[in-house]
Symmetry: C2
Subunit: 219 residues, 2 copies
């Protein structure tokens, strides 16, 4: 059976970016289909009836939903090259722990940095920097989260990097001053073709944030 791979996605989504990177790490050709989240396609609603969210990976007509599950699915389905999760069960559990941590904490925290004002924004900024420092401490002096090889946690986190200039602009702080090793890690990741090709230009993301702020009445 030919591999037909379709990704329903939305360009600034840090979750969609995970799946794009994983597919490119494995050298899988895929058809990227941009969704309009204000007018979702019938295919999106059919393929993800429970959450109705992007990204949705459609492999030979069958949907896989939730980005962290998609990345694991891609790793297991195209296991011939560039392993994404480590092979050791304990290391796998640790990698899953950190992606779960990112899923549970980062999205909410980053949102407060650019979508709120005053005290709520200050609290959000503090929380967000704390999260980044926890992640930086887990990274330590390793080139990547899993050690010498780019892998699951790197894929789980790097999409946020393209949002960083927006957080800095609207939060009025420097992430590099707070977490220099994390920025060095992000620049290292950006040298990979799979990442560079999957992350949009951060100026475009910053403009997207500006538009959202207007739409949400934060300005």
């Amino acid at each position: 059976m030919a591999n037909e791979v379709i990704l329903l996605d939305f360009w600034p989504s840090m979750f969609g970016m995970r799946t794009r990177i994983a597919l490119r790490e494995k050298g899988v050709d895929f058809e990227y289909r941009e969704e309009n989240l204000r007018d979702k396609s019938p295919l999106l609603l059919q393929m993800n009836p429970v959450h109705k969210k992007i990204p949705v990976l459609i492999h030979n007509g069958k949907p896989v939903c939730e980005s962290s599950i998609q990345v694991q699915y891609i790793d297991e389905s195209w296991s011939h090259k560039n392993p994404i999760l480590p092979s050791d069960p304990y290391q796998r559990a640790q990698a899953r722990f950190w992606v779960d941590f990112i899923d549970k904490k980062m999205y909410e925290a980053q949102r407060k940095v650019w979508a709120s004002k005053g005290e709520e924004q200050e609290t959000g900024k503090k929380e967000f920097i704390e999260l980044l420092k926890i992640l930086e401490s887990e990274l330590g002096d390793k080139p990547y989260f899993g050690g010498d090889d780019f892998g699951y946690v790197d894929i789980g986190l790097i999409g946020f990097y393209t949002w960083f200039p927006g957080y800095e602009k609207y939060g009025n702080f420097s992430i590099e001053a707070e977490c220099p090793k994390l920025i060095a890690w992000a620049k290292r990741c950006m040298q990979r073709e799979s990442v560079a090709k999957s992350l949009p230009d951060s100026e475009k993301v910053t403009q997207f944030i500006a538009d959202l702020r207007k739409a949400f009445g934060v300005e």
Copy 2:
């Protein structure tokens, strides 16, 4: 190296129950240590410094946190018998999707059923029943969520069953009337020794809910 397995847990936790069941499915001897969540042990704080939550699985001195990750870790570390996740990548992704769905939706919804009053409780009940119906529809006419074999989604969900009588008492509704197939499934699961041994008596859980309602001022 001998396998020393310790589980830091709290008896009514539906998440802790998952890990107990998985260990028993694999025939792993473990030391169960009850935590006092109002005065957490130094070991818990040391082993799960990020979330400070039970359950924590400690295998030969090394912690694994988050119940769904523990169950996968147990499946991968003791792979000699009773596979928990299916072997096919697509089926694995589907199983992960449903456990993730339970994690994201069930806990919050069930809490509203017994920890709120009036309109909030009515909305919560409606949401909770909707979730159960989605799960029942995914179960369909299969004996277990994955098909003929007890597995990952069954382990992910069954712990809630011991809380059902409490939901029914304080929500004033019958789950069996709403979701008869789901109740038949739960009774099927309860026939397994791993499950029967891992779930506390539901009367004790109902009393625990009554105590929480008093503590939260719901009564």
